[in-house]
């Protein structure tokens, strides 16, 4: 099939064995790429193992869109069995490494085993070798990036971990280009557990498409369409930070560990403040709507901001200064820690301190305390040790009812949207295939524009539609969803692009089916790896059901558990899952997953 490099590169860090294998056409047809390839490999090869053992595998997976001259196509998916959740874990990242991997002749890189000593992997087209990384181990991701760029060239594709990953912090990420991050569910720790500091990729080849001329023409039109959108100019000024004022206005800003949905100091942090501080822009390759806004942080260094990190390291911990938030965010990037989970963990500790459940005094908005906590978390020391395995684990250790306000689903911390008054979004977090991520479906605007407080079936249907497009198609294509979601770039382009790349004509119904296959396989993976997995894993934290908002226009609002339960039942019914949320034999068989149904159902 055209549009693919056609091979995956498999590297065993224990034995040094390197192999290059053909990707079967059936796999391309049934799983498309990216997340689809990743879950298929994990299902086939990673069973009942400790995620931080050498038996786990770390997968870097691109798709047919990766690196094409198409809007925002610089993405890959990083996936593994997650040490944070125990289930399927992945995250996408925009990086030059995606483009180089394909140019080097591979769609997927699979890393297995464990190196005896710290090393990094160097992939230069067909040449693959291990390089000693003793002098890089312990360095932060910015320092190590500089050294590797100096050694291998500034335009090399570099994937790297910081001390957080080396120290096996369960929400450490894989970083690239001093600010790009991927693999929220602890995939940096998986890389660290293999003694692998970095992957450096330099590719010089090209991948023929079915119709390169048409693709070039369509790509050009796509970039032009994006620039012509009426919201484009404003997007370029504020990017995702336009959501800050929007969320505060709609009482869904994460505030004080998700206790509230409005922040009394919101006007000191919103997109208009960002505009005044903005000095530069950063983003992923192949993108003409780059979302990273650089400001001078409180330490007078360049640091990048977007909505998620401002929400979680700002109002969620009571901090009211963008330069201070930017400094915390830069530290997270240097240490290789996920900013969403980090903000949630710090908020958890601040609340524990406020309630007198820990002896340490960590007050809301205490910048210096937050700064010190990041170092402690990255090292897994002191108070940081309590949360370095995430809020679920911390609440299990702390006890005293803290599980009610440990803000996670399935062990993954909730991203920056408070759902006291957003039942559809609460269900989105509840049913996201990696834990509480917003990337698969963000439904808040749709629910506000229709009937915000409805728990109706139509909301569940819309949620599944979003999951099919965002979590199914975009994550497997692999291409960024932001052109569509943020400036309304036409969805009709994507089947056109796919046909020009592969020669296969597929409509959205076909792509939905691929998405459903991927979702069901991920669900089956959770069930196989965690036998007790089921319905109770699909609920957001008790806080949203039990403690109403006390501030703002939505004062008094909370979720209704019985109605949520009904939505969840509809969700299972529409997905073809049983009452416990497990895919039925009929559903799996219909998706061509008979072997899977034999394994989890019998």
């Amino acid at each position: 099939m055209k549009g693919y490099a056609g091979k995956w590169l498999r590297v065993d860090l224990s034995t040094g064995k390197i192999s290059k294998e053909e990707i079967p056409d059936a796999m391309k047809r049934d799983f498309l790429g990216g997340r689809g390839f990743a879950v298929k490999l994990l299902w086939d090869e990673v069973k009942h193992i400790d995620p931080l053992s050498e038996k786990n595998k770390l997968i870097f997976s691109t798709g047919p869109f990766t690196g094409q001259a198409l809007p925002s196509s610089g993405k890959m998916v990083i996936a593994s069995k997650s040490p944070l959740t125990g289930g399927y874990g992945d995250g996408n990242i925009g990086t030059m490494a995606s483009i180089h991997l394909r140019k080097a002749g591979y769609d997927v890189l699979v890393l297995e085993g464990k190196s005896e000593k710290p090393c990094y992997l160097l992939v230069e087209d067909e040449n693959v070798k291990f390089v000693d990384a003793s002098e890089l181990w312990g360095k932060n991701t910015f320092e190590a990036q500089d050294i590797l760029e100096k050694r291998h060239g500034r335009n090399s594709g570099i994937l790297i971990i910081g001390p957080g990953g080396e120290n096996l912090v369960r929400f450490s990420t894989v970083m690239s280009q001093k600010g790009r991050a991927g693999g929220r569910p602890g995939l940096g720790a998986v890389m660290g557990s293999k003694n692998l500091k970095a992957v450096v990729i330099k590719g010089t080849g090209s991948i023929p498409n079915f119709d390169d001329e048409k693709l070039k023409e369509f790509g050009k039109k796509g970039y032009e369409e994006i620039k012509g959108k009426e919201s484009y100019e404003f997007w370029m000024r504020q990017g995702t930070m336009q959501a800050f004022e929007w969320c505060n206005e709609n009482s869904c800003l994460p505030t004080y560990n998700f206790k509230e949905g409005v922040f009394e100091f919101s006007k000191e942090l919103d997109g208009y403040v960002l505009e005044k501080l903005h000095i530069d822009r950063k983003g992923c390759p192949m993108c003409n709507m780059q979302c990273g806004h650089v400001i001078k942080d409180a330490g007078d260094q360049r640091a990048e901001l977007d909505y998620e990190n401002v929400g979680m390291l700002g109002p969620n911990i009571g901090l009211r200064s963008l330069p201070q938030i930017a400094l915390l965010n830069r530290m997270a990037d240097e240490w290789g820690l996920d900013t969403i989970s980090l903000g949630s963990c710090i908020g958890f500790l601040m609340e524990a301190s406020e309630r007198g459940l820990i002896p340490e005094k960590v007050g809301w908005g205490d910048f210096e305390a937050a700064r010190k906590l990041i170092i402690d978390i990255g090292r897994g020391e002191g108070l940081g040790k309590l949360v370095s395995q995430g809020t679920r684990n911390a609440s299990e250790t702390l006890g005293k009812g803290s599980h009610r306000w440990a803000m996670h689903v399935k062990g993954l911390e909730i991203s920056a949207y408070n759902c006291h008054g957003c039942p559809g979004m609460a269900l989105s977090f509840g049913t996201s295939p990696i834990g509480a991520s917003h990337k698969d479906a963000w439904i808040i605007a749709w629910e506000i524009s229709t009937d915000r407080f409805s728990y109706g079936k139509e909301k569940v249907e819309k949620l599944i539609e979003f999951q099919r497009i965002r979590g199914g198609f975009f994550e497997s294509a692999t291409v960024c969803r932001l052109p569509w979601v943020e400036v309304s770039f036409g969805l009709h382009w994507y089947p056109e692009y796919l046909e020009a790349i592969t020669g296969n004509r597929m409509g959205w119904e076909d792509l939905y089916k691929i998405g459903d296959r991927i979702y069901n396989l991920i669900r089956a993976y959770w069930k196989r790896e965690i036998p007790q997995f089921g319905r109770t894993w699909d609920y957001p934290p008790d806080r949203w059901f039990e403690e109403p908002l006390s501030q703002g226009k939505m004062k008094g609002v909370k979720l209704d558990r019985e109605k949520y339960d009904q939505m969840l039942s509809w969700y299972y019914e529409l997905r073809g899952w049983d009452k416990n949320g497990i895919p039925t034999k009929e559903t799996l068989d219909d998706l061509g997953l008979k072997e899977v149904s034999k394994e989890i159902i019998g």
Binding site: W246, W442, A445, I448, W484
Partner: protein, 72 residues
Amino acid sequence: MAELKFLGYLAEIAGAREKILVLDKPMLLRKVLPSSFPEKNVIILIDKRVGNLDSVIENESSVILMPMLSGG
């Protein structure tokens, strides 16, 4: 007085983030907006209820007009 709040790029089109209007009589929302105001992908809340450009506003109305964000 009717209070209108514009979020995101809609503030650029409206020429202000907030407007306070004294209305002689109830009128269609679209009558107080620029002709270039988008018809699609806009959420309109009038006194916390979902409205549209042809909803009637009056003095004491509190109106929020916001883009249909899709949350990153």
